[in-house]
């Protein structure tokens, strides 16, 4: 503590500089009610939240923090994912070697571990978030549509995880994706092995063939190969994150617009 209470410390002097006050408009030492409100209003990130909430809404036993943690894990996955992209080349030739190098050559190489376990954890937190929202009846009017968006986010989370599963290009990866993508081949009408696949034809020429069916569109080939790896990589790193972010924005926006967190009326 300061020996002389009247003499401001270096830190306090720094806090009164023009520079400091331009960064932290509200200041760090928050003492007044007004300041606590201004912190929320002045911050672009905290602005996601309202300034005040009913007390039950800040209780962990009510929300389980699952929605917030899902979002946090999404951010962790984005950051670790970008770091992984520095080291990874999505070709059959390099992919597996790059992943081995990641754990053996790169200092502090636990990014892949954090990315993989974080991804599993995100699937779990998203499911539990859905379960919590169900158990508190929070999908009831006026929040019906946000539940629908939530289901879309749930699907996108699983698709992101699924597309990422292929990238290490090991036995586990290609065979899991082979099992998964074989299902696409069974799509009614559009899949080669699906019911009604021979209905789509012009004269004698069948339109749904091994090189034109739903499975082919997913893999870019007849089996899980080079094209599939590139497709899954692009979807995993650009396509799906882009889509999920749009839905997340709507999801968060709608929470506020639909009256904030659910509560008893």
């Amino acid at each position: 503590m300061n020996a002389n209470p009247n003499k401001p410390s270096m830190w306090e002097k720094f806090q009164s500089t023009q520079f400091y006050r331009s960064v932290f408009r509200t200041g760090i030492r928050v003492v007044s009610h007004r300041q606590r409100m201004m912190i929320m209003l002045n911050s672009v990130f905290l602005h996601l939240h309202p300034v005040r909430l009913p007390k039950h809404a800040v209780k962990v036993r009510y929300t389980w923090c699952m929605g917030g943690l899902s979002f946090f894990l999404f951010l962790v996955l984005t950051v670790t994912g970008i770091l992984l992209m520095f080291y990874y080349r999505p070709t059959i030739e390099y992919a597996y070697g790059d992943v081995t190098d990641l754990s053996q050559q790169v200092p502090l190489g636990i990014m892949r571990e954090i990315h993989r376990w974080g991804a599993h954890l995100m699937v779990i937190t998203v499911w539990l978030h859905m379960f919590r929202v169900f158990m508190t009846g929070s999908y009831k009017p006026p929040r019906e549509f946000n539940w629908v968006i939530g289901v879309v986010l749930l699907v996108l989370t699983m698709l992101l995880s699924f597309t990422g599963y292929l990238l290490p290009w090991d036995q586990l990866a290609i065979w899991a994706i082979t099992v998964g993508s074989n299902m696409a081949g069974a799509t009614p009408l559009l899949g080669m092995n699906g019911p009604g696949s021979n209905l789509l034809s012009i004269g004698d020429v069948n339109l749904v063939t091994p090189v034109s069916d739903a499975r082919f569109a997913l893999l870019g080939g007849r089996f899980v190969g080079e094209a599939a790896l590139l497709r899954f990589y692009v979807l995993h790193c650009i396509g799906l994150p882009f889509i999920i972010m749009i839905f997340m924005i709507v999801h968060f926006w709608r929470i506020r617009k639909d009256g904030g967190i659910s509560g008893p009326t």
Partner: protein, 371 residues
């Protein structure tokens, strides 16, 4: 010890375990009055007290610890990619308990003419900074720390480089799709892999529009929305979680069933003598050859489907779903009935398989149209 393990291996077979799980479900979340009586007689509500929670968890941990003494069990459960599923099982049980524990407290309060705990709290407003921001910060730090420890302690799995010519046995999809892969035992890929996922998602999206009950918004309750919770729990616990666990832990080479303490023997043979409904009807019951006309051949199956999806919803609306029908109206009820009956086809086909070895109800392999 070996006797216990052998016993557990035996009752873990899907045929037996599924019945145990369904029966437990019916007693814990009783959808019918008959089971409600058993529910009350057994005092199931004690499960949701703190003591009950402790008992559930001690049992789970004990069972898990006992399992870990076995080499075969360890091999499957501690596989790096299976660790999240073990965590998931404990988390789901915990959160089901937590939700129903709070629901029970609230229900007791409401029964006495009071209000749920959340109601009193919601009258008071708190500032988000610092009350919520700090909680979020702590939660996120804990999860971040957990992730780092997990990442250091357990290396992410990396098997041999991909080799399209050598397929591992069993080939499993990522764990969150194993419920669907498990359905492949009973349905063709176009149903288990395409139609069912679509229907599951549509069904989930429909929940807010199906549930006309305006009570139970914003607080934990069971009594105020019993029907909704009972139905949801069936899908969430019995179909989704249970099938994922089976697919992960109890399915080995050739997708054969293996008990939790059983060695995954690649040479295990299981007799497959499944027959189609058409074969059962024409060849065994009527003792004649299969008709050559496809439609005529599959007529019994189509008849069953027409009755099941066409007539049954109407019959149900007059009988056990009478109240539901009155509350929902025609449109909502029809959508609900179709979704519900579709979901029920899974357990129905399970039983048909186990009891009569039936593979397909309608089998038209000529058009890949097998149901």
């Amino acid at each position: 010890m070996e006797t216990i393990k052998h016993f557990i291996n035996t009752i873990a077979a899907p045929k037996i375990l599924f019945n145990i799980v369904v029966l437990s479900y019916l007693i814990i979340f009783p959808p019918f009055k008959f089971f409600q009586k058993i529910h009350d007689a057994l005092g199931v509500r004690r499960l949701w007290t703190k003591k009950g929670g402790m008992a559930i968890f001690s049992l789970m941990f004990l069972a898990f610890a006992f399992g870990l003494t076995d080499g075969n069990f360890r091999l499957i459960v501690l596989k790096p990619d299976n660790v999240p599923i073990v965590a998931l099982l404990f988390l789901v049980v915990f959160f089901v308990w937590l939700a129903l524990h709070q629901a029970q407290d609230n229900d007791d309060a409401i029964a006495k003419g009071g209000k749920p705990k959340e109601w009193a709290e919601s009258r008071e407003k708190v500032l988000v900074f610092p009350d919520l921001v700090y909680i979020e910060f702590i939660a996120l730090m804990i999860v971040a720390a957990l992730l780092v420890v997990w990442a250091i302690g357990l290396p992410a799995p990396l098997e041999q480089a991909a080799n399209p010519t050598v397929s591992p046995n069993p080939s499993k999809a990522p764990w969150y799709f194993l419920g669907l892969q498990e359905m492949l035992v009973y349905f063709d890929p176009w149903i288990a892999g395409v139609v069912f996922p679509t229907v599951i998602l549509l069904g989930l999206m429909c929940i807010p529009y199906m549930d006309k009950n305006r009570k139970g918004l914003g607080y934990y309750t069971y009594q105020d929305r019993k029907t909704a919770i009972n139905i949801f729990m069936f899908f969430w616990l019995v179909l989704w979680m249970f099938l994922i666990s089976i697919g992960t832990f109890l399915r080995g080479p050739n997708w054969n069933f293996f008990g939790p303490f059983e060695y995954w023997d690649h040479n295990k043979l299981e007799a497959l003598n499944n027959i189609n409904l058409s074969e059962l009807v024409y060849m065994i019951w009527l003792n004649q050859g299969l008709p050559s006309n496809i439609l005529w051949r599959e007529a019994p199956g189509f008849l069953i489907l027409i009755v099941y999806f066409g007539l049954l919803p109407a019959i149900l609306a007059k009988t056990i779903f009478k109240d539901l029908y009155a509350r929902m109206g025609v449109v909502r009820y029809s959508i609900f009935a179709v979704l519900f009956l579709m979901a029920l086809t899974l357990p129905i086909k399970m039983y048909l398989r186990w009891l009569f070895n039936i593979k397909y109800i309608v089998a038209i392999p000529e058009f890949f149209f097998n149901i």
